[in-house]
């Protein structure tokens, strides 16, 4: 009976093998290593953990990390929307090239981006030079960190908004126009609401990536404690001092905030799919 039933459900072969292998490989490469983080925390005393994460220098590094990531994600939402709009709606020479280069931050090693951005925004750099006489330093300040994070996060916003904009039904837009709405009003009350879930998803993805980013930031940050020291760098420093518990405590706070972001992303995607189905 059971044999018949399972045969009817699973016509295709290989379920046991592929599922078993997937779970096995997932466990040894991802789950067991990540579990070590929690076990390490459980073994450490709460005093030690609390001491680490309430250290003013650590708190300052969280501030720098989260604030820079937030600013960068906001700027990416604005310019990512503009870029997606221009790429979907307009025709201009070189459009294909621009569309292709959007993915550059996914393909370019972060360390390369880091040294290039530092060279550009240092006081003697191509752009740093323009701002130096005004007394504005970009590299080795939080502005520099934010610029690196803008670089890293941009494709996340463009690539989540672009397909939604492509699928957008232009008849609704045209209906709004026939009813006499001007362009800005049509955009704000017809188009923007449709794009909002994608914009939030893009924001969350860019923000989450920026929190953990290391390679592109360390070169341009200057790494001054309390000012431009990011949390991933502090983990690195603690490890070099063999302070495993300290490194783990800092990592855990970052990891938990990333998980929260991941949950938010999944919820937003679930909601937008749900909306699409119910329509």
């Amino acid at each position: 009976m059971t044999k018949l039933k399972s045969k009817r459900i699973r016509v295709l072969p290989g379920f046991g093998l592929t599922l078993g292998y997937s779970i096995f490989y997932l466990s040894i490469i991802v789950l067991i290593p990540l579990a070590s983080l929690f076990v390490e925390t459980a073994n450490a005393s709460w005093d030690k953990i609390w001491q680490t994460i309430s250290d003013p220098r650590v708190i300052a590094s969280y501030r720098v990390t989260f604030l820079s990531a937030f600013y960068a994600a906001v700027i990416n939402v604005i310019f990512g929307l503009l870029l997606a709009w221009v790429l979907v709606r307009y025709k201009f020479p070189g459009k294909k090239l621009i569309d292709g280069i959007i993915d550059l931050p996914f393909a370019l090693p972060t360390a390369v981006a880091g040294i290039a951005l530092t060279a550009i925004y240092a006081e003697n750099g191509f752009i740093g030079k323009l701002f130096a006489p005004l007394g504005i330093k970009i590299a080795y300040t939080q502005i520099g960190i934010t610029i690196a994070l803008i670089f890293i996060g941009l494709p996340f916003v463009v690539r989540t908004v672009q397909p939604v904009l492509q699928e957008l039904d232009r008849e609704i837009e045209e209906a709004a126009v026939t009813l006499g709405a001007y362009r800005w009003r049509t955009f704000r009350s017809v188009i923007l609401p449709e794009l909002t879930p994608a914009l939030w998803t893009g924001f969350a993805l860019a923000f989450a990536r920026a929190i953990g980013e290391y390679g592109s930031v360390v070169f341009i940050a200057g790494n001054m404690p309390f000012k431009t020291e990011i949390a991933p760098l502090l983990i690195m420093t603690k490890l070099e001092q063999f302070d495993y518990a300290g490194a783990t405590a800092i990592a855990l706070v970052m990891l938990l905030s990333s998980f929260v972001m991941l949950l938010v992303i999944n919820f937003l995607q679930w909601r937008s799919q749900h909306q699409a189905i119910s329509e």
Partner: protein, 295 residues
């Protein structure tokens, strides 16, 4: 052909659209200009800078930086790491995509979320977990020491950390693709008596080969360029545990800027090849999709 666009309900060219249905010409150019300036400043300028800084002190110095023994050994190690990490993750990606898209089972969504985990983890943390496991004071530390084995601060650690960081790429690319294609073709082949491997190779593979290739290319680009995770588990020993990105960091910190940018230009080339391959594959997929619609 000509009538098909109107039949699909796609509003045709802009002439038939009423006024205000798109932005006025000056605004259109304003937005395009701002967008292009932004792309130029954020994305293109760094690329140009790498090439310019690499060649600033002459071609000779540029070439010397590339053929110097430390650079060559870094290149070799980087390729070795990618050569192990990418096939491992490809095998996993195919297996996971098969199990997720061809079968119904409980916990599928949990599995999907877990596959994405490495994307949500900071590269530094990806390295940290292996130090916790295999470091001198880690779980397996005493065992490894007793047997004179070294994983972190050595090549195996670099391979493990890279595999962790590039874990989701192939699976992420294949799952939506195979989901969209359904399983009727495979089921038809199975009902005709085809065996598992045969079905995969002759029925599934032709449909997913471009998506698979794209996943592999992305996975490879990240494997070669990974910095944070590798930095944690590498001992930073020149000529031994330095990958290309780590080699760039060392050169840069020693103020050998031209050499650092020269080596970086290799990775820029890799990034550009990745982007070109991506757009070629996408064009192929679009053409294939168009063909399918016609049939």
């Amino acid at each position: 052909m000509a009538g098909s666009t109107t039949m699909n309900g796609l509003a045709g060219s802009s002439e038939v659209r009423p006024r205000h249905a798109t932005e006025s010409l000056p605004f259109r150019w304003l937005w395009i200009t701002i967008a292009l300036l932004f792309v130029g400043l954020i994305l293109i300028l760094p690329l140009v800078t790498v090439i310019y800084e690499g060649l600033k002190k002459g071609v000779e110095l540029y070439l010397t930086a590339l053929i110097e023994p430390d650079a060559i050994s870094a290149l070799k190690l980087t390729l070795l790491v990618a050569l192990i990490a990418v096939p491992l993750n490809t095998l996993f990606g195919v297996a996971a995509a098969w199990t997720i898209t061809k079968f119904q089972f409980r916990g599928k969504n949990i599995l999907l979320t877990l596959i994405d985990l490495p994307f949500a983890v900071s590269p530094v943390i990806s390295g940290l977990v292996y130090v916790l496991l295999f470091g001198a004071r880690g779980w397996f530390g005493p065992f490894l020491e007793a047997n004179h084995l070294q994983i972190v601060y050595a090549v195996p650690g670099i391979i493990l950390a890279t595999t962790f960081v590039t874990f989701p790429f192939v699976a992420r690319e294949l799952i939506p693709l195979m989901q969209a294609q359904g399983k009727q073709e495979e089921e038809a082949a199975a009902s005709l008596g085809a065996k598992g491997w045969h079905i995969f190779w002759h029925v599934t593979m032709p449909n997913i080969k471009w998506g698979l290739l794209y996943g592999i290319i992305l996975c490879n680009a990240r494997a070669i360029g990974e910095f944070g995770a590798v930095s944690v588990v590498s001992g930073h020993i020149r000529g031994e545990t330095n990958t290309l990105p780590l080699h760039i960091e060392i050169l840069y910190n020693e103020y050998q800027f031209s050499a650092a940018f020269a080596v970086a230009s290799l990775l820029v080339a890799l990034a550009l090849v990745t982007l070109v391959a991506k757009s070629l594959i996408e064009r192929r997929q679009q053409r294939a999709a168009a063909r399918n619609r016609m049939n």
